[in-house]
Amino acid sequence: MRQRRFLGHGVGLRRDHFERILSAPTGVDWFEAISENFMVPGGRPLDILRRVRRDYPVVLHGVSLSVGSTDPIDEGYLARLRELIADIEPAWVTDHLCWTGVSGVNSHDLLPMPYTEEALDHVVRRVTQIQERLARRIALENPSSYLTWTASTISEWDFLAAVAQRADCGIMLDVNNVFVSASNHGFDPHAYIDAIPTDRVWQFHLAGHSDHGTHLLDTHDHPVRDEVWELYRRAVRRFGTIPTLVEWDGNIPEWDRLEAESARAREVMRDALAG
């Protein structure tokens, strides 16, 4: 599978920055929008997204596809997502390797999968069905996780790679999540990066996290940590010029600070490729 086109360095589209983004050119190349926040009939957010799309590539990033749930696929959700895709014409569509609820209850959280053969078959089947319904491939992100199922028999990276190969989907590799999960579960983040097939990665995520003593939490409310920049360098050296997005969802800084974080990602990528 060929990698997707290089969009450059982007940031998440958040309401705090709507006015700034629309008022003048920015130093970022593209935006990522949380799909669910724009799956509404009308109003200002949708209008803003359409206006942003006129000037920038946009990636739609969902949090509710729930590819790992054992509940039936939510056809209503897919229909709304299809409408948004037709409206916005995103560069591509991503969501997470997780489940968000079961028995009709949505936790609104990215819950970890047990990494078993049964779960692998299930996710591959679901992703295949979803891609057929959407008439396009999607990319799945590795979420941060805070526990390991006792039943797990496969490593997360092997599970993710197998899903991508068997369902013929992309990988949206969140470098911060690799670091957070590695710390929480005691595995080597380099081994994770090195095990992901190079031809499947469509996009990188970078973000900050918080240290809660017993575990790291993927809070997106800090600058990217030095250890994550280091891991990003390794990822760039392995995967090449992959579109990279900085996420910042809590304690959202002024636009200039966010733009500077994206610019740093650009520099790190350039240095990693030069070195």
Binding site: I34, E36, F38, G43, P45, Y77, N106, H108, L147, T219
Partner: protein, 310 residues
């Protein structure tokens, strides 16, 4: 009995544990007491380690489940939070989620049943107007991202003959909500100016983890309780800004007609006549309301012979 032997049972058990209102360990005890779990040692489900045992690992997800929903609902209902204070709102949402766990794919829709729930909750008895205040806050959220529609413009009216104006079939724009309340809560809404009053432009959903406790320290705001009296409020969006305005019974009746079936101006006039002392008063009232509705962007022109939503 849920067991971890297959994916679905594992997910159901996981969900039950992280949504248990008292936390994972009490939740496991309850499942054991109900005969739905064979042990409270959750290491058969989740691996523990030197840093956190299995229940501690699950507690991370339990905390994120509740706080994410509570914070989203607090953003939707800032004035309800102001009246109740953070601790009461926290407990309200704990009770609410037991009855109305989220069944929707977006946090945007989770709060829809909250006003009705408040009406039946002890806090609704302590603050009898609280459910109506919640209805107003929710109607503003609905109007915020409801379907776009161009309201009929003054210039369009100006270019028509009187006969043509009289034959126009008019309806309400979709982003308009009509509230029939038991308390006059509009002054309370005005009094409670909070930092969170803006609707969630851009939405609540994100993939970031959450967790906070300072919320519970928000003190209740002392409010003069509004009178218990029938009250009508219209909520609408003009451009991208949401407004609301208390209206009299005659205007509300007209707006209901416009919303439900659409109406011509003569039909509106007939309705106003039922509320007025005479024809002159009804005519003057219609002229004033029509002018106001046009100025505030409430009306849209319906195709001739069209039937709008029942």
């Amino acid at each position: 009995m849920p067991s971890p032997d297959d994916l679905r049972n594992s997910q159901i058990l996981f969900k039950e544990l992280i949504t248990a209102p008292e936390g994972v360990t009490p939740g496991a005890s309850l499942l054991c007491a109900q005969g739905r779990l064979h042990t409270t040692d959750l290491s058969f489900l989740v691996r523990g380690d030197a840093r956190l045992d299995a229940a501690g690992r699950l507690d991370i997800y339990a905390g994120m489940y509740f706080y994410r929903l509570r914070d989203a609902l607090a953003e939707d209902y800032p004035r309800v939070v102001a009246v109740t204070g953070g601790a009461n709102f926290h407990n309200l949402i704990t009770d609410f989620l037991l009855v109305h766990p989220s069944g929707t794919w977006s946090l945007r829709f989770v709060g829809e049943p909250l006003a009705g729930f408040i009406a039946m909750h002890p806090l609704g008895r302590e603050f009898p107007y609280l459910a109506d205040l919640a209805r107003l806050e929710w109607a503003r959220i609905e109007a915020f991202d409801d379907e776009d529609a161009a309201p009929i413009a003054r210039q369009r009216i100006a270019g028509l003959t009187q006969d043509r104006i009289a034959s126009l079939r008019l309806g309400l724009i979709p982003a308009c909500r009509l509230l029939s309340l038991a308390h006059a809560v509009a002054p309370v809404w005005l009094t409670l100016t909070t930092s969170g009053e803006a609707p969630p432009a851009g939405g609540h959903d994100s993939e970031a983890a959450v967790g906070s406790s300072a919320f519970e320290e928000i003190p209740p705001t002392r409010v003069t309780p509004p009178a218990r009296e029938p009250s009508f409020i219209r909520v609408w969006r003009h451009g991208f800004k949401v407004y609301h305005r208390p209206v009299r019974a005659d205007e509300n009746a007209c707006l209901v007609l416009l919303r439900d079936t659409g109406a011509t101006l003569p039909e509106i006039g007939d309705l106003l006549l039922e509320h007025a002392a005479g024809e002159d008063e009804a005519t003057q009232r219609m002229a004033a309301l029509f002018e106001l509705w046009i100025a505030e962007g409430l009306l849209r022109e319906l195709p001739e012979g069209s039937i709008i939503r029942p």
